[in-house]
């Protein structure tokens, strides 16, 4: 790693001020950023650690019934504290990385980084959640803008994510066994007024909604409905872990398994 100074602000306001410095970079749990720094793929002069900001931590039920999760909340905390209200999300959080990673990695860091194989973006997009930052609220459909690209401005921090709670949901993932990231994973969320399906790990454009499957499942919520549907293999990531055609196939398989899991 190149050397850098570390700031440890205690409030969002102080963090925003610290990030105004040239070449400052925010770090949440660091489970992606520290390996990135070791590989010298980033060279911040100041690292602003968000892990000491208590106002960005915790899981609470909002007045409007949404589940509101502070950006600095670790995966382990989400797994434990979202279990009663939103088991689909808790189940996702409980299977990110491994236990030690889950004790450090945060939802805000994952959503801000928008790795094309990260787990949380699938839940955020599939529920139509709202990403809250230090100065605005962004709808999930506007937030994710391609591989590692989001609507965030320079120095903007994800302070909270507000999830509408589906009637039922399930996250099904097929992991790449070395990295434990999804090779392909699908989050299916069933609401009173429709179904949303989001896919991560598969596309060259990062997380996406599979609208054909949403329409079909909105008509009849069973896995047979989506059996004949396919995504275009040409849009899928093709690498040594799997071809585009293989990933396109897995999108269908994961979706059907998620629906079957919901239907029990």
């Amino acid at each position: 790693m190149y050397n850098f100074d570390v700031e440890r602000p205690k409030t969002v306001a102080d963090a925003v001020n610290a990030l105004a410095t040239d070449e400052a970079q925010p770090m949440s749990g660091g489970q992606t950023l520290i390996p990135t720094l070791k590989a010298r793929l980033a060279m911040p002069s100041v690292l602003v650690s968000l892990s000491g900001i208590d106002e960005m931590k915790g899981v609470r039920k909002g007045d409007d019934g949404r589940l509101c999760i502070g950006g600095g909340t670790t995966h382990a905390t989400v797994a434990a504290e979202a279990a009663a209200d939103f088991p689909g999300l808790a189940g996702l959080a409980a299977r990110i990385g491994d236990p030690a990673v889950r004790n450090r990695g945060t939802i805000g860091g994952s959503v801000a980084n928008n790795d094309p194989s990260a787990c949380y973006p699938a839940a955020v997009l599939a529920t139509g959640a709202t990403v809250v930052t230090n100065n605005r609220e962004i709808a999930a459909d506007d937030y994710f803008q391609g591989m590692f690209a989001t609507a965030l401005e320079e120095g903007e921090i994800v302070t909270e994510v507000k999830f509408p709670i589906p009637q039922a949901s399930h996250y099904e993932k097929h992991i790449q066994p070395a990295s434990r990231f999804p090779l392909v994973a699908v989050f299916v969320a069933k609401f009173a007024d429709g179904v949303r399906v989001a896919v991560t790990g598969a596309s060259e454009n990062g997380v996406f909604r599979w609208t054909e499957a949403e329409a079909a499942l909105g008509g009849a919520f069973n896995s047979d409905t989506v059996k004949g549907l396919t995504v275009d293999a040409a849009d899928m990531i093709s690498d040594l872990h799997g071809s585009g055609a293989y990933r396109a196939h897995l999108v269908g398989v994961m979706t059907r398994r998620a629906v079957d899991a919901i239907n029990g």
């Binding site: 050397n3 570390v6 520290i34 390996p35 236990p99 990673v101």
Partner: protein, 161 residues
């Protein structure tokens, strides 16, 4: 350089570190606690697992300055002062839960974190919890056996996978 001060295995420890100094470097190079191993340095292998404020973390993927003020536990603090192994360590010895031993500090620290939260895990839960600890010698069978034994459960019926 920044001054950091933390409690390590019940004793106060302090030193001056760079921003980029990892917790594992501080433990090994400044405090001489070389029981915490660096296997992969990419947060895959888990040989560097320690407890920070009671939670298992990978010390290769946390900055030392972020542990300022924290309560840190490492493998060196697991046995009693007279060298008597704790229950988990003894179970690893009894059930031959190691071969070369390089991954063992991380395995023991992960096992301790698991049993604190889940004192009677199933075999499947033990295997799932060890997702982030890689052993290249044992095939995990005896590690799982040792952890099940340390939890006080019958290990007669555990089948190899």
């Amino acid at each position: 350089m920044t001054q950091v001060k933390m409690t390590v295995n019940g004793k106060t420890a302090s030193g001056h570190v760079e921003g980029r100094t990892l917790l594992v470097q501080f433990l090994r190079e400044d405090l001489g606690l070389t029981g915490t191993h660096v296997g992969c340095d990419t947060s895959q292998c888990g040989a560097c697992v320690v407890h920070v404020n009671g939670q298992a973390v990978k010390a290769c993927s946390m900055l030392a300055v972020e542990a300022d003020g924290a309560d840190v536990a490492t493998i060196e603090g697991q046995a009693a002062a007279d060298g008597t192994l704790n229950t988990i360590q003894q179970a690893f010895q009894d059930h031959h839960g190691l071969q070369c031993g390089f991954c063992t500090p991380g395995m023991v620290m992960s096992a301790a974190a698991l049993l604190k939260d889940n004192p009677k895990p199933t075999v499947a839960e033990v295997r799932h919890y060890l997702d982030g600890n890689i052993c290249r010698c044992t095939g995990y069978h005896n590690i799982v056996k040792a952890i099940m034994a340390a939890s006080g459960q019958d290990i007669g019926a555990i089948a190899a996978e």
